[in-house]
């Protein structure tokens, strides 16, 4: 077409491209994205090898995408554009009502679930101590009235039923799905912007465990509740929907309970020890979730003044972090082991040196159906 002011049009569009590049060179570089909760790509290193296998070019592309000026705003724009186009139910995050960001349904592929259940039951069959398994349903299966009307089915019912069947007699199954659905306000049991259960959700799971053990649990009223607003979780980070309101973290403390927490990591010589179950320094940081047991570690050891001399081993993923303060009410000694990081010995070997009176598996259903680290059990 014939423009009346072709020069203005050409300079405007060329200027936009040039300005994008200029901003890239002039603006300071971030090393991590607080909103996306991840370390941004490092500057590519040109070497003969990276040039030869072409990885240099891929690294440059990744670096540019991660450090492009206004990246967070652009990611947000893209996310809201996709929402406007109607794609709220087919991404990694399903956007529901009232600011709910649900992780998409777990894959219905059962192979990893079968392998994991096989590993757990084979392990449990060799133990004298009772073994409990707590498989945490996903938020979408529990808080279903906040899901968008149009969404892919959450297969938690069938997958959990399958897991329970596979667990057989050697493992005591702690059913959470029914208990969660029957709760007065199921939406208080999960975060809106994170895949984890809330402290209230963890408390309910603890109560279910005690029920399963036919023991009494500490009543809810015994805990003092401290609220920390402004928590943005993993679903928020993945969604790009930056205008979503944050969650509030709750720290439940029993004033009578004293606990010492020691954190062991494979790549750290000296373990870290602190008094008290919450790592409050994290409340000041962008990623607040590590307030529970300071995040993911190979092993966390908890010593309490609980009125019991029993010792508990928890094999778990991060769902157990919010549960630990309640378990601390019941056991003098607790070890929490995360098989994704605990690689020096198998659990069986570790148990031979550190016998436990009870063993509890705590896993989100997404880990049971997707994480292969459980193969390190025996």
């Amino acid at each position: 077409m014939q423009f009346r002011h072709p020069r203005a049009v050409a300079l405007l569009l060329a200027g936009a491209l040039a300005a994008g590049q200029a901003a890239f060179w002039l603006l300071p570089r971030e090393t991590l994205s607080e909103k996306e909760k991840r370390v941004l790509a490092a500057a590519p290193q040109p070497t003969a090898a990276s040039l030869a296998d072409g990885s240099l070019f891929a690294d440059i592309d990744r670096y540019l995408a991660d450090h492009f000026p206004g990246r967070e705003a652009l990611v947000g724009l893209n996310a809201y554009q996709r929402q406007a186009e109607g794609q709220n139910a087919v991404g990694e995050i399903v956007r529901g009502a009232d600011g709910w960001l649900f992780p998409a349904p777990v894959s219905a592929d059962r192979q990893i679930l079968w392998d994991n259940m096989q590993a757990i039951t084979a392990f449990a069959a060799q133990q004298d101590a009772p073994v409990y398994l707590m498989a945490v349903p996903s938020a979408g299966a529990v808080v279903s009235d906040k899901l968008p009307r149009l969404h892919l089915p959450y297969p938690d019912d069938t997958l959990l039923e399958e897991a329970r069947r596979l667990a057989g007699d050697s493992v005591q199954w702690v059913d959470l799905l029914e208990a969660f659905r029957e709760a007065d306000r199921p939406e208080t049991l999960y975060y809106r912007t994170d895949h984890h259960w809330t402290t209230a959700g963890a408390y309910r799971a603890y109560a279910r465990l005690m029920e399963e053990k036919q023991a009494s649990s500490v009543p809810q009223e015994a805990f003092a509740v401290e609220r920390a607003p402004g928590f943005y979780g993993t679903s928020y980070a993945k969604s790009g929907l930056w205008l979503t309101a944050p969650d509030t973290l709750e720290l439940w403390t029993d004033p009578a309970l004293q606990a010492t927490v020691t954190v062991y990591d494979a790549n750290r010589e000296e373990p870290v020890t602190q008094q008290g179950l919450y790592f409050r320094a994290y409340l000041e940081q962008a990623d607040k979730y590590p307030v529970f047991l300071s995040g993911n570690h190979a092993r966390v050891h908890i010593q309490t003044n609980a009125d019991s001399d029993r010792r508990l081993l928890v094999v778990k993923d991060s769902y157990a972090h919010a549960l630990a303060p309640f378990l601390a009410e019941e056991y003098r000694t607790i070890d929490l082991i995360d098989l994704r990081y605990f690689k020096r010995q198998t659990i069986s070997d570790w148990l031979a040196e550190n016998p436990a009176d009870e063993i509890l598996f705590v896993y989100g259903l997404s880990s049971l159906t997707g994480d292969t680290a459980l193969q390190w059990l025996a």
Partner: protein, 460 residues
Amino acid sequence: MSFASLIFLYFFLPAVLAGYYILPRRWRNPFLLAANLVFYGWGEPWFLPVILLTALVNWLIGRRMAACTVRRARRRWLIAALALDLGLLVAFKYTGFVLQNLGLEGLLPGAIPLPLGISFYTFQVVSYVLDVYRHAVPAEDSPVRFAAYMTFFPQLIAGPIVRYGELRGQLTGREETWNKLANGFCLLLCGLGKKMLLANPMGALWNGLRALPDGTGVLGAWAGAAAFTLQIYFDFSGYSDMARGLGRLFGFELPVNFRYPYAAHSIREFWRRWHITLSRWFRDYVYFPLGGSRRGMARTVRNLLIVWALTGLWHGAAWNYVLWGLYYFVLLTAERLLGEARLARLPYALRRVLTLALVAFGWVLFGIEDPGALGAYIASLFSPAGGLISREAAVWVLSYLPLLLAGAVLSQPVSVRLRRRWGRTAALRWGVPAGSLALLVLCTAALAAQSYNPFLYFRF
């Protein structure tokens, strides 16, 4: 380097434009050649020798042919050039396929890498040596100009397939104007928008539907076919728009490759509107030399069979592409046998719908390489066993319904009508640049948010 990447849009392109316009005219072609090589070598530098060798040999042979008056000697040069060009294409693209079909795939240590754009630039140099041989164009004297033509980065990797004769005058005497620049940017961003905002989501829908473990149902399967039909159109025509837009930024006018193919009312017309420069190539360098349609029905059908088997194979070294080519052979032969007059008796709307459905079915053949998966998908298109639409498929289709409808509308010549009606108003004069800028922002957002999005036609 892909057009749909931040490094191309914000780094390579501004740098090349600045260098190009700063330099005096006589340095512009050599500068373009250098830019072409950087563009081509970015990502896979080890194929640079292949393309440079192809350019050099074809340039030399062109000169030899031009200098030679003996017909037989010219013919020998021609055969040498064709043997080299087509030999390289066959060696890189079809060796694995041939050996696999002979049951000899063990002879190869691994997959042979395909040099980027080899199918396109090979056809371009073949057209050059044939045209020089036929005295249709003079041979190019300057190796730099020849290499700049053969490796011209806007159309190097996925067309349009430009003949030397079309660019010859532009290589020496083109004029860069502000209006060409403005149009070039707008066309570039329009093509980018087609790719990022329509083709990619349609591809996500197509892949999402195909991955459903329990199938899609009949309606879901046709929605998947529609999604792929739109994906491949917006992907490829978007690329061609970008190529033409980029050409204009440097003062070149490249041929049109797509003219609203989904507005066709017959298969024959579809192929006059789809990938026009490829159809033209096969017509001029295969179909006509074989005798075209002038030697009776039997010869015509034979020629069509050859052309369409080759067209299928050109698109990929797998049987589904051959099947897809033969599918069009059957359809075009049937149209020819029925005759245009008889077809014209059908209502126009019916012809449109029928053509689109046949084309969409064709894309299913094209889109699924694995024979088992292809068979299953075709079954789901026609068998009521899977129900009308599965719940999962319904979620996918409804989530993308606004884009499916937008794509369906935009694949029709509505913008032509709009331009005719509003083209002279201020609203459109400012709407086009403002819209281009908005497209740039949205596409940049999509590029920053996702990391990997190759063009479909890069595979060929």
